[in-house]
C-alpha cells in the first residue's frame, strides 16, 4: 500500500518484534490475575483457625477478589481508553502490592476482605484488561497465537504459585507470606513497563500527509495510534455531531449493545460461565468422595493444569491456521460444546483411572476455551472497540461466574450426589456452545449479505479505497457500526487467504 509519507507498516499492527515481549508481559499479568485468587486458598485453613471463623467466611475472600477482578472491568476499560495500557497496569501492580502488604498486618477478617478482596482484586482487574487489550493492538495476523500464549500464563502461574505459597507458608507463616506475595505482585509493574504504547506519535505525520494528499483517508493510522477515540477529531473530512452519547461512548462504548456479534458473544458467554468453573472447584472433593486420597485428588488438578498449559498455545496455533481463522467462531463454539460433553460423561468415570482421563480431556477443553475467549471477541468487534467490549463483557460474566460454584454446591447438597452438578454444568455448556454455533452461522451470513449490499450501494472510491486499505479498522464515525465487522471480516478474509497485506 503506497501510504505516502507514513512509514509503510505504521498503521498496521507489527505482528512481531516488540510484540512478543508484550506477549511475555501479558503472560505474567494475566497469569497473576487468574491464578492468584486460587493460589491463596492454601492459607485459608490457618487463617480460619486464627480468626476463629467458619470456612465459608474465609472463602468470601476469594469470592470478593474474583468479583472485583471481573466487576471492575468497565473501570479498567475507561482508564485504558483514557490513558493507555501501560500506566494502568503499573498502577494496578502497585495497588496489588499495597493490598497484600497491608493484608499482612490485618487483625480481623473484615480487614482481610478489604485488603485482599477489594484492593488486590481491583489491582488485578487493572492488570487483566489492559494486558488483553494491548495484544489486540500489537497483533493481527498472528493474534490467535499471541492470545493463546498470553493466556497460557494462567496455568503456568498457578502451577508455580501453589508450591511457592506452600513453601512460603511453611517458612514464614501466613503473615510473612502475604508480605512477600505483595512484593511478588509488584512484578506486574515490570510487565506493565513492557507495554510500550504503539502508534501515538504517528498522528503528526498523518496530518502532514493529509495536507499533501487530499484524497487519502487516514483513519487507519489513527486507529493504531491510540485506543482513545479522541484523535478521531483530527479527521478533516468528517463533521461529527458531538453529542452527549458520543462523549460517553468515547470512554466506554455503549453502542456495542447494538452490535450483533457482541450481543451474541455476550449471551453465549454469560450462559457458558454458569457451568465453567464449578467442575474445577468440585473435582478434588468429588475424587475424595469416591474414595481417592487427598494427594491423588490434588494430583488430578495438577494434570489438568499441565494439559491446560500445553493446550492454550496449541489452540492459538490451530486457530491461526488459514482454515480455522475465518471460522474461528465455530471453533470456539465447538470447544465449548466439547467441554460440556466432558462434564456430561464424567459421572461415567469410575475409579482413579477414569478420573485421570476426565482430567486430561477437561484440561484440554478448558485450555481451548480460555485461549480463544478474548480472541473471538476481538474478532467480532475489532481492536478499537475491544477496549470497551472487554469491560462490558467481564462485568456481565461476573454474576454468572460467582453463581456457578454455589449453584453446583447446592445441587450436591440437595441430592447428595455429585453427578447432578456435572450434568448441570455439561448441559449448560453444550447449550451455550450450540447457541453460539447457530447464532454465529447467522451472523456470518448477515455479514456476507451486508458486504454485498455495501458494495452495490457504495461505489465511491474513497470508501472502497479505505476499505481496501483498512487492515483492522472500524470507522466508527463514517459508517454505522454494522459495517465495521463487515469490513474487517472482508479484509481479514482476504488477507488470510493471500497471506499478505492488501492494498
Amino acid at each position: 500500500m503506497p501510504s505516502p509519507a507514513n512509514a509503510g507498516p505504521a498503521p498496521s499492527p507489527p505482528d512481531g518484534g516488540w510484540g512478543w515481549v508484550v506477549v511475555f508481559g501479558a503472560f505474567i499479568s494475566i497469569g497473576f490475575a487468574y491464578a492468584f485468587p486460587k493460589g491463596i486458598a492454601i492459607f485459608f485453613k490457618e487463617i480460619q483457625g486464627f480468626f476463629d471463623t467458619s470456612y465459608s467466611e474465609i472463602a468470601w475472600v476469594s469470592s470478593i477478589m474474583l468479583a472485583t477482578t471481573y466487576g471492575a472491568g468497565p473501570i479498567s476499560s475507561i482508564l485504558v481508553n483514557r490513558y493507555g495500557s501501560r500506566p494502568v497496569v503499573i498502577f494496578g501492580g502497585l495497588l496489588c502490592g499495597i493490598g497484600m502488604v497491608s493484608a499482612a498486618f490485618c487483625t480481623s477478617i473484615l480487614q482481610l476482605y478489604i485488603c485482599v478482596g477489594f484492593i488486590t482484586g481491583f489491582g488485578l482487574a487493572l492488570n487483566l484488561q489492559p494486558s488483553v487489550i494491548i495484544i489486540g493492538k500489537y497483533f493481527l495476523k498472528r493474534r490467535p497465537i499471541a492470545n493463546g500464549l498470553a493466556m497460557a500464563g494462567s496455568p503456568v502461574m498457578l502451577c508455580t504459585l501453589a508450591p511457592l505459597n506452600q513453601f512460603l507458608f511453611d517458612n514464614f507463616g501466613w503473615r510473612g507470606s502475604f508480605l512477600i506475595l505483595g512484593a511478588i505482585l509488584l512484578n506486574c509493574c515490570v510487565a506493565g513497563a513492557l507495554f510500550r504504547p504503539i502508534g501515538a506519535p504517528k498522528i503528526q505525520s498523518n496530518e502532514e500527509v493529509k495536507e499533501v494528499l487530499k484524497e487519502e483517508v487516514t483513519k487507519d493510522a489513527m486507529e493504531m495510534n491510540s485506543s482513545t477515540n479522541i484523535p478521531v477529531e483530527t479527521k478533516p473530512e468528517e463533521e461529527e455531531a458531538k453529542d452527549c452519547c458520543e462523549k460517553i461512548n468515547k470512554y466506554l462504548d455503549f453502542s456495542l449493545f447494538k452490535h450483533r456479534g457482541f450481543l451474541i458473544y455476550l449471551i453465549g458467554n454469560v450462559l457458558m460461565f454458569l457451568g465453567f468453573f464449578a467442575p474445577i472447584v468440585f473435582l478434588a472433593p468429588y475424587a475424595k468422595h469416591i474414595g481417592i486420597d487427598e494427594y491423588s485428588a490434588a494430583f488430578l488438578l495438577s494434570i489438568l493444569a499441565i494439559v491446560d498449559m500445553i493446550a492454550r498455545p496449541a489452540t492459538g496455533i490451530i486457530a491461526n491456521s488459514k482454515w480455522v481463522r475465518p471460522r474461528i467462531q465455530y471453533f470456539f463454539s465447538f470447544s465449548i460444546a466439547f467441554n460440556g460433553a466432558c462434564h456430561l460423561l464424567c459421572p461415567l468415570a469410575s475409579g482413579y483411572k477414569g478420573l485421570v482421563i476426565y482430567s486430561v480431556f477437561f484440561g484440554l477443553a478448558f485450555g481451548m476455551v480460555c485461549a480463544m475467549l478474548f480472541e473471538t471477541l476481538m474478532d467480532l468487534v475489532g481492536a478499537t472497540r475491544f477496549t470497551s467490549a472487554v469491560g462490558l463483557v467481564t462485568i456481565a460474566e461476573c454474576c454468572t461466574i460467582l453463581l456457578g460454584p454455589p449453584i453446583g454446591g447446592t445441587l450436591i447438597d440437595t441430592f447428595g450426589d455429585y453427578k447432578y452438578m456435572f450434568i448441570k454444568c455439561g448441559a449448560v455448556m453444550v447449550l451455550a456452545g450450540t447457541f453460539l454455533f447457530i447464532m454465529n452461522y447467522y451472523n456470518y451470513r448477515m455479514l456476507a449479505k451486508e458486504k454485498r449490499k455495501a458494495k452495490e450501494e457504495d461505489p465511491k472510491s474513497v470508501r472502497t479505497e479505505s476499505e481496501g486499505r483498512n487492515n483492522l479498522n472500524k470507522d466508527t464515525v463514517q459508517d454505522g457500526p454494522e459495517l465495521e465487522p463487515l469490513r474487517e471480516e472482508q479484509e481479514r478474509l482476504k488477507k488470510e487467504v493471500n497471506g499478505t497485506n492488501e492494498v
Binding site: 505516502p4 512509514a7 514464614f172 507463616g173 508480605l179 512484593a183 509488584l186 469416591i290 475409579g351 476499505e467
Partner: protein, 401 residues
C-alpha cells in the same frame, strides 16, 4: 457366617462390615454404619455405632467399615466400632479380598460377621469406641494367607474406655484341612490360660479395666504351618499438625489438638522449659494463655503477646479412662525482620527491572528519532516527485479496489 475370599480391584478400597450391637433399650435392631472422614490423619476411619435390641447375654459380633488407603507402600486400615452405625452397603473391592456385607446382614437380634483380612495387611487399627460396658465386643481376624517372609500380623486396637472384648484368632476355610498342633495366646511373655475353642477359631475374653491390661496379645497357631497374629491394644491417639506453627512477635498463636472419635475426660497443656514440662495454667502468667474448651474433643491453646521466649515445644495431653495420650506441637516465633529481607530484595529487583526497561526504551526511541528525521527528509523529496505524477497514481489506486 462363612468368610469370603475376595477378588481384585483397582483404585481405592472401601471395606464395609456391618456392625450390629445390642444396647439396653426397646427399639428394634437398627444397623447403622456411619462413615467419617478424618483428614487430619492420613487414614480414613469409619465409625460404626450400632444400635440394637435389649442387651442379651450373648456376645455380638460387630462388623466394621474399613477404609483403606495406600500411600507409598504401606497400607493403613482403621476399623472403628461404636454404638450407632448405619449400613452403607458398600462393597469391599481390593486386590486381596472382596466382601459383600448386605447378604450378611440379617435383621435379627444380632448379626454375626467376620472380616477376612489377609495376613499381609499390617497396621490395621481397630478403634473400639462406645463399646458398651455390659456387652462384649468381638474382634475376629481371619488368617487366610501368609507372607512367606513370615512377619506376624499386627492389628492395632484402640480403646477409649473400659470394655470387655473377645479376641478371636481364626483360620480361613482353605486351611481347614490343616492339622493344628497347638494354639497359644500370650500377653508379653505370660501365657493366657482360658482359650475358647470352636471349629477352627481360638479366642480369649478379656476385661480391659485399666492401663495395665493394655498391651500386645499374641496368638500363635502352630501346625504344619505357623501363623502369628498380634493384637495391640492401646489408647486413642491425638491428632496434631506435624509442621511447626509460625507466628510473629506481638501476634497471637493458636495451637489446636484434636482427638478423633473419642472424647477424653480432660485435657492438659504443657510447655517445655529446658528439659522439664510445666503445666500451663491460666494463673501462670496473667492474660497470656487462654485455653478454649468449646468442644469436648478439641482443645485450643491461645498464646497472646508472643515473644521469642515462647518459642519451643508444647504438649497437649488427653486423659482417657484407660490412660493418657500426648501430642507434640512446635511453635516458632519470628521477628518481622525475617520476611522483610526477601520482601526488600524483591522490591529492589522490581525497581531495577522497571528502570532498565524504561531506559532501554528511551535509548531506542532516540535512535529511532534520528533515523526518522533522515527518512522524513527522504520522503518529502519523494512526495514532491510523486505529486507531479499525482493524478496517475490516484486513479491507479481507485481502480485497484
Amino acid at each position: 457366617m462363612p468368610a469370603r475370599c475376595l477378588g481384585s480391584c483397582s483404585g481405592r478400597l472401601l471395606l464395609l462390615l456391618c456392625l450390629c450391637f445390642s444396647l439396653p433399650g426397646g427399639s428394634p435392631a437398627d444397623l447403622a454404619v456411619t462413615p467419617q472422614d478424618a483428614n487430619q490423619t492420613h487414614e480414613n476411619s469409619l465409625t460404626q455405632m450400632p444400635t440394637g435390641l435389649k442387651s442379651s447375654p450373648e456376645p455380638m459380633t460387630t462388623t466394621q467399615t474399613v477404609n483403606r488407603q495406600t500411600r507409598g507402600g504401606s497400607i493403613t486400615d482403621h476399623l472403628t466400632v461404636g454404638p450407632d452405625a448405619s449400613t452403607l452397603g458398600l462393597d469391599l473391592t481390593t486386590q486381596e479380598f472382596k466382601q459383600d456385607t448386605k447378604s450378611n446382614i440379617s435383621h435379627g437380634s444380632y448379626e454375626k460377621h467376620e472380616v477376612v483380612l489377609p495376613a499381609t495387611v499390617t497396621n490395621l487399627t481397630v478403634k473400639l469406641y462406645y463399646c458398651e460396658t455390659n456387652s462384649v465386643c468381638k474382634i475376629t481376624l481371619i488368617i487366610n494367607s501368609r507372607d512367606d517372609s513370615g512377619p506376624a500380623v499386627v492389628k492395632n486396637i484402640t480403646l477409649d474406655r473400659a470394655v470387655r472384648i473377645e479376641l478371636i484368632c481364626k483360620l480361613h476355610d482353605k486351611y481347614s484341612s490343616l492339622k493344628v498342633i497347638q494354639v497359644t495366646w500370650k500377653k508379653g511373655n505370660e501365657t493366657i490360660g482360658h482359650i475358647n475353642k470352636t471349629e477352627n477359631s481360638w479366642s480369649i475374653q478379656l476385661t480391659i479395666s485399666d492401663n495395665s491390661k493394655l498391651g500386645s496379645y499374641n496368638c500363635t497357631v502352630k501346625g504344619e504351618k505357623e501363623f502369628s497374629v498380634v493384637f495391640h491394644l492401646q489408647v486413642p491417639k491425638i491428632d496434631v499438625k506435624d509442621k511447626p506453627v509460625i507466628t510473629y512477635e506481638g501476634d497471637i498463636a493458636v495451637l489446636v489438638c484434636k482427638s478423633l472419635n473419642s472424647t477424653p475426660i480432660s485435657w492438659t497443656w504443657y510447655m517445655t522449659n529446658g528439659s522439664e514440662q510445666i503445666a500451663i495454667n491460666d494463673s501462670l502468667v496473667l492474660d497470656k494463655y487462654v485455653i478454649d474448651k468449646a468442644f469436648p474433643n478439641v482443645t485450643q491453646l491461645k498464646i497472646l503477646k508472643l515473644t521469642s521466649k515462647d518459642d519451643g515445644v508444647y504438649w497437649c495431653e488427653a486423659a482417657f479412662e484407660l490412660g493418657k495420650s500426648k501430642g507434640k506441637m512446635k511453635l516458632k516465633v519470628l521477628s518481622l525482620m525475617v520476611p522483610l529481607k526477601p520482601f526488600l530484595a524483591i522490591v529492589a529487583e522490581v525497581v531495577v527491572l522497571v528502570a532498565v526497561i524504561f531506559l532501554f526504551e528511551i535509548y531506542s526511541k532516540r535512535r529511532e528519532k534520528c533515523a526518522e528525521i533522515e527518512k522524513e527528509f527522504d520522503q518529502t523529496e519523494q512526495l514532491k516527485s510523486e505529486e507531479s505524477n499525482g493524478v496517475e497514481n490516484s486513479s491507479t489506486r481507485h481502480r485497484k479496489v
